[in-house]
Every structure is written in C-alpha cells, then in structure tokens.
Symmetry: C2
Subunit: 522 residues, 2 copies
C-alpha cells in the first residue's frame, strides 16, 4: 500500500494541471474556501456573478478549446442556480468537470446550513456521472474519473461533491493515466453504408453538431462533392458543419416532421452525419422520411443511435466514419439544383435582416458568432452565412441564458478571433451579469442586442397554437446600453440604418468588450 | 363514471380559483402557451426575466400571504434555472405549486427540442412531491394533490409536469375537497414538557421561523414572560419570532456548536420552539447543550424532530403547542439580566452600522425588511431590531439571489406595508433582473444596496479557515444606480452620512420602487 503523501488539494491541483484544466470557473462560498488555500500561480480563477453564467462561460470555453473545462460551485445553492445551464451543456454535449463544496463530514447528520442533501442527485439527470466520495482520500481519483467520463463520446458534464474538510486530508495521488476518446465504427457496417451510398440515385446529407465536434469539416465537403449530394443542416443544430455558401448547401431543416419529409422529397438515401434522426420542436404525424427513402445515420452518440426513428445507425467517430465512406468511389450524378439565395436588403428599415446582412458584410475574417436570438434565427440563416469551421455556436437545449456568457467563454479560449454575440433582448436579460465578466476579463466581444422589445419568437409561436396574445411576452423599459455601462462595458444604441455600419465597424475593431443595442423594426 | 365534461385547462383554472391561487408567477415558452388560451380576466400573470427570479418572487408572495403561490415554468430549462431558488424555498418551507410544460406526448420517444427528460426528477430533492401524470385527464387532480401536499406542515414546493397537448383534452373536474393543515401535539407529551418547564430553575427559550409561520407571536411572548425566560433567536432563523427590544430578548444564537453552548451556559432547560436543534454553519465538537441542561423541542417538522441531536421532540403546530404549555402555571423566578444594547453610531463614517441605525430610525411603522446582506447581518442584529410580527424575511438556505425578488413578492402581497430590501452588492447581482419586475408592477419597494464592493462575508469567513486572499471575492466596476434606471427603477447613490437620511426618507415615502446604492466604508 502506497503511503498517503500529499493533501487532497495538492493531488487535485496536480491532476488538473496534468490534464490541462488550469482555468477554474466559479463563484466561491464558505464551503469551497479551503480548496483555494495557496492558490497556485499557474491557475486562473474566472468569476461569474451567478452560477448560470459560470457554467455557460465554461461551456463556451470548453467547446472552443475542444476539451473539458473545470467548474467549482457553491454547495447546493450554486449547483441549483446552475442546473439550467447544466441542462444546456448536457444537450450541447460539452465536457465539463463540475465540483461543488459540501459541509464538513462530521456535521452532516445535523443538516447544517448550506448542506447539500443528496448532493450527487441534484444535477441529475443532466450529468453523465455524479459522486460524493465516501472518504476524503478518494476525491482525487473521483475527479480523474469525472474528467475521463466527461471526455468520452458523447461528451457531457460530470459532477463531484467535495466536503469542505477534505482538502487538508492526506491521500495517495492517483496514477497518471490515458483513456481513449475516439471509437471507430464497425468496418462491415460502414462498408454496407458505402455500398448503399454508391447505389443511391439521389443521396442527400444531413449534417449535425458532431461533425463540427469531431473536426470532420473537410471530410463532409469531400463526401458531398464526390456524391453530388445536397447538404442540409440538421434541425436546430448547435454548431456549423458545412460552408453555408457552398453550391451543395441546401439550407436548414425545420424541426417539424412533415416539413422535413417535404424538404427531402425526391431523395432515395438520407445520410445523417452527427445528428439525431430528427430533432422535432412541434408535434408531427406520418412518416419520418419520404416514402421509399432509406436512411443511414453515423453518430458518436449511442443513445441517439438507439432511439432514431428509422434507418441503419452506426456508432462511430464522425471523422473516421466519413473517411471510411470516402474509400468508396461514386457514380456520376447530376449536380442538385443550386438553392436560391436571399436578395439583398435595402437600408430603408432597421430590420433584423438588414442588421444580419451588415454583420455578414463587415465581420472580420475568422469571426465566431455565438447566437441566441430565437426570433432572428431564420433571418440569420438567410443573411449571415457561416463560412468557416468552428465559427458558430448556439445552444442545443432551446433554453435562454446561454449565449451571452458562452460568448465570453469562447472569447477567453480564442483570443485570436473576434467573437460576435448575437442576442435577443429577452435572451440577454437571462444572463446579463455575464457582461461584468467580459469587462473584468477585458475580452473583445461584440455583443449585438437585437432589441425587439419582447419574446417575439414566442408571439410568433403562439400562432402555431392559435393564440392571439399570450401573457408575459412584452419587455418594456429596458436600456441595454445602461445595463452594459453599469458593468463596465462600453455601449452604443443604434436606431437607424445609417448608424449601423459605423457602430459595427467600431465594435469589430475594438480590443475590449462593446455592446451595440440595435432597436429593430418588427 | 362521470362524463369528461371540461377541458384540462378549464378544470385547472377552476381549481386554482377555488384555492385562491389567481396569481401566476412565470416565464412562458412554447410548451406552456396552450395553458394560456383565453387567459381568464380574474387571473394575473407576473413575469420574471429569469426563473430564479420567478420562484423567489413567488416565495416572498407565498410567505407574506401565508398560503401557497402558483408558478409556471418553461420545461426543463425553466425548472433548471429555478433549482437554486427552489432549494431556498424548500429550506424556507414555503408552499409553492410549481408547474412546467413538457413536449407533446406523441413525440417524447424522439427526445424533442425542449424535452424534459425524467421531468419529475429534475426538481428533486427540493420538492415534497413531484409528478408527470400518465394521462392528460389526471392533470387537474395532480395539481389538487400538489396544492394540498405543499400546504401540509412543514410546507414546501411541489411539482407537476404538464405535456403541452394536455390542456385541450377533456377531463372530469376533481371534486372540491378540504384537507386540514394543523396538527396538535400529543397532549401527554406536552403535559410532560409543561412539568419540565415548571420545574426548571432557569429555562431559556430559542425561537425559530415556525413560530412566525404558525402565527404564535403573542403566545411566545406570554410564555417567556410567565416563566421569566430569556429568549434567543435560533441560529440563522429566516423569520422574526420575538420582539427584539423586549427586555427578555437575549439576542441571536450563532450557528456554531461551542458558541451556542457558551451562550446558553447556566440554564437547566432549553425550550426550542419552531427551530432545528441546531442549525450549524461550521464544524463543531463536544456537547450540543450545556452540561446538565435538558432540551425540549416543539416543531411542526417531523424530520427536524427525528434528527435533533438531543432532547425530547414534540411534533405540533407551534401556536397549539405553546398554548398547551401556557395552561400550566409558573413558579416565581428572578428576571434574567437584561442584555446590553449597542451604543448609537455617530455620523462620522458611512458604515453599514450607521446605515442600519438610520433605517431603524426612519422606517415607517409596519415596515417589512427582506434581507440578504450577509456581511451586515451582525450589524443588523444590533442596529435594526425587528419589533412587530411578520416584519422580517431572509433565506434559510444560505444561498444568494433570493432577497431582491423575494422583496418584490412580499410587496405584491402586502400593499399596505413599506417593504425595505436590504441587499449586499454580491447578493443583488445574483437576481438583478428582479428590479424589472418591481418597475413593471410599480411596487413601492425601497431597495437598499449595501455596496462594500465584494463578497465581504466570504473574506471574513476566509479567516476562519486561515486563508489570506481567496480568489473571486472582489466586485469592481458595478454601478447599481445605472442597473436600476436601466430597468425602470429610480435610483440614488449615497456616499456620505449627510446624504443618507434624505435619501432614505424619500425612498420610504415613495409610491414606486426606489433603489439607494450606499457606498459603505469597510
């Protein structure tokens, strides 16, 4: 038996250093303080003023770095405030290692102040693994397991609850280990898929977020071009996985069963790459794919494979899986009809369409868009095409409050890029405290608020249910410039088309955070 | 079998009307819209801009009205954002009936957008009961059960998940029912406690939040006076349960085992009324009560009775229990030594002590204080005594983010009173969006921000663990006046003693919300 030679704190910081997690996102409380005794100089603490902000910043940071991020929360209350962002991180399949303090072991029988009752259950079901080790000396190994679990495909959050008195106890540091994270698909099934693809008269490709996550951008382009396959973005995809001005790019599938079938009508093979089959937002009926069409899904998510409504599902890393498909030749096929591009918008009304068109025209090369502007999503698809890999992030959960802090996290990870946060007014208010962190970190994010004075996406959705005026959708008396300046972020309001370009140019050139409140015509 | 004669929506609104829950706190989304078709004119929708705000407003409203409040949240994301406030409501023992939308039943197999996986588990363990009815027609009865369960002692939140397609289905309305909420203690055990009390040489009383919740203010005063018992407030009590300038009021017990024993030294009977035995914040050792002291607990919380560290526990409504004790006579006892009151603070430095003293001097009669200013808690105990029943609320959980929106909820319930929200800067930032709801509802809350530019309570706590400078405790570049005005709330900054009284007088006299940012010396 190896001697207990280091403190739990030393072992944990050693582990975090080994796996490259030297940025700690958090908001501290009394039950976390002993973790930070002699805080190492090579670590950085990133403070968020509410835990929903903390976890969403970590989510953006993790996605942009393509590895896990580390989070420390305050006991039950901190985890509780974070559950919404945790739900989004789980749906985003973002690897997060989340820790929270717990009261001292000896007083747990008395349900003390700040006690987290059933701590490992609190973040469920939106964690892949969750634990409060029974002994202090098991904490470092639990954190190693949390990291390796978070990184397995599909990635996701994991959770470890740490009693406050554990940090100064002695333990044996866990050994350094390596755990693979990539699985190649069954070669015989990939070969079968390749035969189906080759035999198809008119194949189409549907791309989802795992294409971006697995870095298969070039492979998808090669496969689509070889097979002359139209490429659709999967419904509500949280990442961009295909150049949206490529002649083969057909557009964005709606999250509606009948409409998906209508869009894909005429194809005989649907190859779904890195997306569920399919994500629906509204109730639908009838078949999931056009009559006589086959479907093949490549996915790194075993659960998405198991629950797909139709077709052959192959569990595989996307890059490896698509490369296997690229080993087969393709027959000569005619190119699909090129999609009609939206006409340009004249500067006569300050609509969201005009705004998005001007962002597209003026954004610096390599810009990253982090979007949470639900009512402008359609306009964005038409007027702000994503052209490069890893240049678009939105939340996969449908919840509000992710975009603003996620943009801060992305900017922290990618200091080489301009980050543009495209946010609805309702969305921005959910996590307005994130502006403080942008100012504190002096990150050059351009926050563009599409202020339409309400939850307009909801007003539009009400029509789907035949409702006239739902309560609680109008947002008057909000001044986003004042909210930004109050937290240390420069801000400017734009109410006319003529003011827009100058404001965008200035924000895009700035080396500090700038907020532009755009009062759009609706 | 009774005919299915009404829609689920009609049955639910009828039930809510019957039990007096005609105010709906929420933030709507697509999965909730059909609930609000033909929204009845006798109902009111109170919008919060983040669900932690929504639930904390409902919590304040419910506590101030002493009955349940109704909440509607948006699917998994809305519940997720609310879990922190739900934890606090659970610890506050506040009756809340919380509903959330769910996707349509027919598409649940496909894990649709906004799907709440394991919906009833998401708010656990901080709900007393949680359910997603298996059939649409069972929704109204589930909500009736949720209401009756929330109202049982100890009160707490309950949860019902409602699929979006349920609202238009037909059902049989549940019958009107009555369920008692008061339990009287075992008469023989109360008689035994009365004998112990009578025999005690020097009894002391410790009062907790359930005294306030059960409306036993007068009964506790009568009991203390009859027995010449010093009265302590229980550690971290979330309500005021005894007049804090009464000659028998001894002060506030700290949440620390050794210090409690020291404070209670010399007594031979400790009568704990409506509080746990005891709430600890830090690890402690040794006995829980002074040597040779007996302890009797009256509590309406069976779990608190079961886990009390020592003594005889009697489960009872507090008012009924104390009245039973009042049936016995008391021996002649000398009065305990009157506690030393804090000396008055001169206007030479703008400290939190001076601020609290001036609030005490200038507050209108009947004012209600909702407090979340952890580093000023001690100063508040000395300089801002609560004198009347139901005039003080704070959170029982120790989490931040409750106070600001809870004050809005209290003000909505008590239009006859001035509500003073006493908030730390860190606390206020957690739920700063609540100011928008105060403006929207035009509620005359006086928000007093004790701005000490950081999480000072944490800096002070760090000393307990021997830490010098914990990371993440300093809050620079925040302008609370701008944050208030940006949301439609009038604001004024006070940086000197000479400015304070005028600002307080104006805010206390206002018929609309006013925020005072007090930049205190630390």
């Amino acid at each position: 038996m190896q001697a207990m030679s280091v403190t739990v704190r030393e072992a944990v910081f050693g582990l975090l250093r080994d796996v490259g997690l030297t940025t700690i996102f958090g908001n501290p409380g009394s039950t976390e303080l002993p973790m930070f005794r002699d805080f190492p100089a090579d670590f950085r603490y990133v403070l968020g003023l509410q835990e929903s902000v903390v976890v969403a910043m970590a989510d953006g940071f993790a996605q942009a770095r393509a590895t896990a991020a580390f989070v420390n929360l305050h006991s039950a209350i901190g985890v509780g405030h974070a559950v919404g962002s945790l739900f989004t991180a789980y749906r985003n399949q973002t690897p997060l290692v989340i820790t929270a303090g717990q009261q001292a072991r000896s007083i747990l029988p008395f349900e003390p102040f700040l006690y987290s009752e059933q701590a490992p259950n609190l973040p469920r079901p939106y964690v892949k693994w969750s634990c409060e080790p029974a002994r202090a000396e098991d904490v470092p190994a639990a954190l190693a397991r949390a990291f390796f679990t978070a990184m397995q495909r599909p990635c996701g959050p994991t959770f470890v609850s740490v009693p406050v008195d554990d940090w100064d106890r002695l333990c044996t540091p866990p050994p350094r280990r390596e755990v693979t994270i990539t699985v190649a698909g069954d070669p015989s099934m990939l070969a079968r898929a390749a035969v189906m693809l080759r035999a198809a008269r008119r194949p189409v490709i549907v791309v989802g977020a795992s294409v971006a996550r697995d870095g298969a951008w070039q492979e998808v382009i090669a496969l689509a071009e070889r097979h002359q396959a139209a490429v659709w973005a999967s419904p509500l995809s949280s990442r961009n996985s295909f150049p949206e001005q490529h002649p083969l790019f057909a557009g964005f599938l709606p999250a509606d069963r009948e409409q998906i079938v209508a869009r894909l009508e005429g194809c005989d093979l649907i190859l779904v790459l890195g997306a569920p089959v399919f994500t629906y937002h509204v109730e639908g009926h009838g078949p999931h794919v056009p009559k006589d069409a086959s479907l093949v899904q490549l996915t790194d998510d075993p659960a998405a494979a198991a629950r797909a409504a139709v077709g052959l599902s192959i569990v595989t890393d996307l890059k490896l899986g698509i490369r296997a498909l690229l080993e087969a030749k393709a027959p000569a096929r005619p190119a699909p009809a090129a999609p009609v591009r939206a006409p340009s918008v004249p500067p006569d009304r300050l609509t969201d369409r005009y705004l998005l068109q001007q962002i597209a025209a003026l954004r610096p090369p390599g810009s990253i868009v982090v979007e949470e502007a639900p009512s402008s999503r359609g306009a964005m698809h038409h007027y702000l095409p994503m052209l490069e890999p890893d240049s678009f992030y939105t939340c996969a959960s449908g919840g509000l409050g992710h975009g603003l802090p996620a943009a801060v996290g992305v900017a922290l990870a990618r200091s080489d890029r301009k980050v543009i946060a495209l946010l609805g007014d309702g969305s921005a208010m959910y996590s307005i405290q994130g502006l403080w962190s942008a100012a504190e970190l002096a990150l050059p994010v351009a926050f563009v608020i599409v202020n339409n004075r309400g939850y307009r996406a909801l007003d539009e959705f009400a029509a789907h249910f035949g409702l006239a005026t739902p309560p609680g959708t109008h947002l008057a008396h909000l001044d986003f410039c004042a909210l930004a300046r109050a937290q240390g972020v420069e801000a400017v309001r734009v109410s006319q088309c003529t003011e827009l370009d100058g404001a965008l140019r200035k924000a895009f050139a700035a080396t500090h955070p700038v907020l532009i409140e755009v009062c759009v015509d609706v």
